[in-house]
C-alpha cells in the first residue's frame, strides 16, 4: 500500500534536483560569457605573470573549449558534453593538472570535516534542545548560548579556537591537514597526525552548527508540547516522559527538512573554516583558485559542491520517508 505516493514524492524531488542541476550548469556556463570583458584575454593576461610557460597551451585550450567561432547553442552543448566526460578543464594554479583531479584530491578532506561535524552537531543539538525546552533553568542558558553560537560567523569561531587552543595553549596545530614533515602513508603515526590537525576545524564547525539545531529543536518541542495530542495525553495522565518522547519524534521531522535547508550554509561554513586552518579541502582550493584567477578550478569546485549538495538532499529525502509514516500513506506530511 502507498507505493505510488512514494514514487510520486521521489519523482517530484528528482525533477527539482534535475532542474537545479541544469540551472547550476547553465549559470556556470553563462557567467564567464556574459560578464563584462573577454574572459580568455583577461585570464591569459593574468596567467602570463604567474605561468609564462603555460600561456600558449592555455590559449589553444581555451579557444577550443569556449569555441567562440561556433554558434552560442553549440557552445552550450559542448559545455554539457565536456561535463559528462568529466572534463572540467585544466587548472592554472597547478598547471597542467586536470581540474577534476585537483578537486578529487581535496574532496576527502572536506567530507572528513563535514560529515562528522554535521551529523554530530545535529544529533547533540537536537537532544540538547529537546531536553532544555520547558525547563526554566536550562532553557535560560541554552537559548542565549545557542543564539550566540548560531550568530557567530564560522570563520571567527575558527580563528578564536585556533588562537586560543592552537597558538596560545599550543595543544593543536593551526594549519594544514597534516604535518609538513610527514608523507601521507597508511601508518598510525600519520593517522594520529591527521586527527590532530582535524580536531580544531571539526570542533569549530560542530560548535557553530550545534547552536542552530538546539534552538530549532527547542522551539519545535515547545510547539509540539502545546499540540492537541500532548494535551490529550496529559489529560489522560500520561507521564511527561511519554509526551516528550512523542513530541521529540514529531519535532524531528521538521528538523530533517531543516537539515536539507541548512546544507548550503553548512557547506559555506566548512569552506571558510578550511581557509582559516589552511585545511587542504575544497575551501582552501577555492581560495587558491581566487588568488590565482584560476577560473576553471573555481567553476569545477562549484559543480562539485552543487552535485554534493544535491546528493545530500536526496539522501535526506530518503531518510524523511523512512521516518515519517505520512509520506508513505500518501497524506500530505512532507512539503517539498
Amino acid at each position: 500500500m502507498g507505493r505510488p505516493h512514494v514514487r510520486r514524492y521521489f519523482g517530484r524531488k528528482l525533477l527539482i534536483y534535475g532542474l537545479t542541476f541544469v540551472v547550476a550548469v547553465t549559470v556556470n556556463w553563462m557567467i564567464p560569457r556574459f560578464m563584462p570583458g573577454d574572459p580568455v584575454a583577461s585570464m591569459l593576461a593574468r596567467a602570463r605573470v604567474s605561468q609564462p610557460a603555460a600561456v600558449e597551451a592555455m590559449r589553444t585550450y581555451y579557444t577550443n573549449l569556449f569555441g567562440f567561432d561556433q554558434p552560442i547553442w553549440q557552445q552550450y552543448l559542448n559545455f554539457w558534453g565536456a561535463l559528462f566526460q568529466g572534463d572540467f578543464g585544466i587548472s592554472i594554479w597547478v598547471f597542467p593538472t586536470p581540474v577534476a583531479d585537483v578537486i578529487l584530491a581535496a574532496v576527502p578532506y572536506t567530507l572528513a570535516l563535514m560529515i562528522p561535524s554535521v551529523l554530530l552537531s545535529y544529533w547533540v543539538g537536537n537532544r540538547f534542545g529537546a531536553f532544555a525546552a520547558r525547563r526554566k533553568l536550562l532553557d535560560n542558558t541554552v537559548l542565549p548560548v545557542g543564539y550566540i553560537l548560531t550568530a557567530t560567523p564560522y570563520m571567527w569561531l575558527a580563528v578564536i579556537l585556533a588562537w586560543g587552543l592552537g597558538v596560545v595553549a599550543g595543544w593543536f596545530p593551526v594549519a594544514g591537514g597534516y604535518s609538513f614533515s610527514l608523507q601521507p602513508s597508511w601508518s598510525w603515526e600519520f593517522f594520529l597526525d591527521l586527527l590532530h590537525h582535524w580536531i580544531l576545524p571539526f570542533l569549530s564547525l560542530f560548535l557553530v552548527a550545534l547552536g542552530g539545531w538546539a534552538i530549532g529543536m527547542r522551539n519545535m518541542i515547545i510547539y509540539e508540547l502545546e499540540s492537541d495530542y500532548s494535551n490529550y495525553l496529559s489529560a489522560l495522565g500520561a507521564p511527561s516522559r511519554l509526551i516528550r518522547r512523542y513530541a521529540y519524534r514529531n519535532a524531528i521531522l521538521p528538523q530533517i527538512t531543516g537539515l536539507a535547508l541548512q546544507l548550503g550554509v553548512l557547506v559555506a561554513g566548512a569552506l571558510v573554516t578550511e581557509i582559516v586552518f589552511s585545511y587542504p579541502g575544497l575551501g582552501s582550493l577555492i581560495l587558491k583558485a581566487i588568488q590565482n584567477q584560476d577560473f576553471f578550478l573555481l567553476q569545477g569546485t562549484f559543480m562539485f559542491i552543487v552535485i554534493g549538495v544535491l546528493v545530500a538532499n536526496f539522501l535526506i529525502d530518503i531518510v524523511y520517508v523512512l521516518i515519517d509514516p505520512r509520506t508513505r500513506t500518501g497524506m500530505a506530511g512532507a512539503q517539498a
Binding site: 527539482i16 534536483y17 532542474l19 537545479t20 547550476a24 549559470v27 556556470n28 557567467i31 564567464p32 560578464m35 563584462p36 570583458g37 574572459p39 537559548l143 542565549p144 543564539y147 550566540i148 548560531t150 550568530a151 557567530t152 560567523p153 564560522y154 570563520m155 571567527w156 569561531l157 580563528v159 578564536i160 585556533a162 588562537w163 592552537g166 597558538v167 596560545v168 593551526v174 515547545i222 502545546e226 535547508l261 546544507l263 548550503g264 550554509v265 557547506v267 559555506a268 569552506l271 571558510v272 581557509i275 582559516v276 577555492i286 581560495l287 583558485a289 581566487i290 588568488q291 577560473f295 573555481l298 567553476q299 569546485t301 562549484f302 559542491i305 552543487v306 549538495v309 544535491l310 517539498a336
Partner: protein, 294 residues
Amino acid sequence: MTTTTTLPTEERVVRREALYFAVRNTKLMIGFGIVLFLLLVGIFGPILANVEDPNEYVAAAMLPPSSEHWFGTTTFGQDVFTQFVYGLRTTFVAGALGGGIAAVIAMVIGFVAGYRGGWVDEILNMLTNVVLVIPTLAVLLIINAYLGIRSVGVQALFIGLTSWPWAARSIRAQTFSLRNREFVDLARLSGMTTRKIITREIAPNMSSYLFMTFILLFGGSILIASSLDFIGLGPTEGVSLGLMLQNSTQWSALQLGLWWWFVPPGAGITAVVGALYVANVGLDEVFNPKLRET
C-alpha cells in the same frame, strides 16, 4: 466602502496589546538595544573618527589597545577602532540592502504564488525550490570572482538575489491561509484588484510576520557578506568587518598574537546578528500569545 482607512477597534486593541508586551519583553528590548547601539556606532563613529581612509597607516605597527588606539593597530599601523566603526557601517549597509532586496523578492513571489495558486504557484514554487537547493555561497563565489571591481551594493544585490527562497516559501504558506478569509473575499467581491488586495488586505494582516522575516534575512545577509569578504571577494574599496577578519588572518595576526585585530570584527558581527535573532524571538513572543511565558 473602504475597509482600510480606519482600523477596527479590535485590531487597534491587538496593536496596543502588542506594544504593551513589546516594551516588557526583555529579549526584544535587549536585542534591539544592542542593534541600535551598534547602529549608532556605525553611523556616528565614522563621522567622529573623521579620517579620509580607514585603511590609512596612522601609527606604529602592532600596538596593543591603549587610550590612544582603543583597539590597537594592525601590522601596518592602521587603527583597528577606526576600521571597526567603518566596517560596522558597511556591515549594516550589506545587511539592510541584501536583506531588503531578498525580502522584496520573497514577498512578490510568496504573495503571488500564495494568492494566485494554480499553475502560477506551481511554477513559482518550482523556481523557489530550485534556488533553495543551490548552495548560495558557491554561486556568489563564482559571480563575485568574475566581477573585477566589487562594491558593497553589488555584493548586497547578489546576496539578495540568492537568499530569498525560504522566506518566499513561508510567505506563500501564510498568504495561502489568508486568501480564503472573509475580509479577503469581501475585498474581492468589492472589485479590488489583485495587487490592492495583496498590499492592502493580505500584507497588513501579516505585517508582524513580514517584519520578522526581514530581520532574519538581514542577519543572514550579514553572515553571507562577511563570508564572501573573508574568502577575498569582498568590496575592492573600503573596509568591512569581514575584510578585517580576512586581513588579520592573511597577515598572520594569529601567529603574531594580535588578538585585538581579529576579535573586534568577529565580535561585532556576532553581536549584531545575535541581537537580531534574540530580538526576533522577543517579537515572536509579543505577536504569538501562545509563546508568552505564563
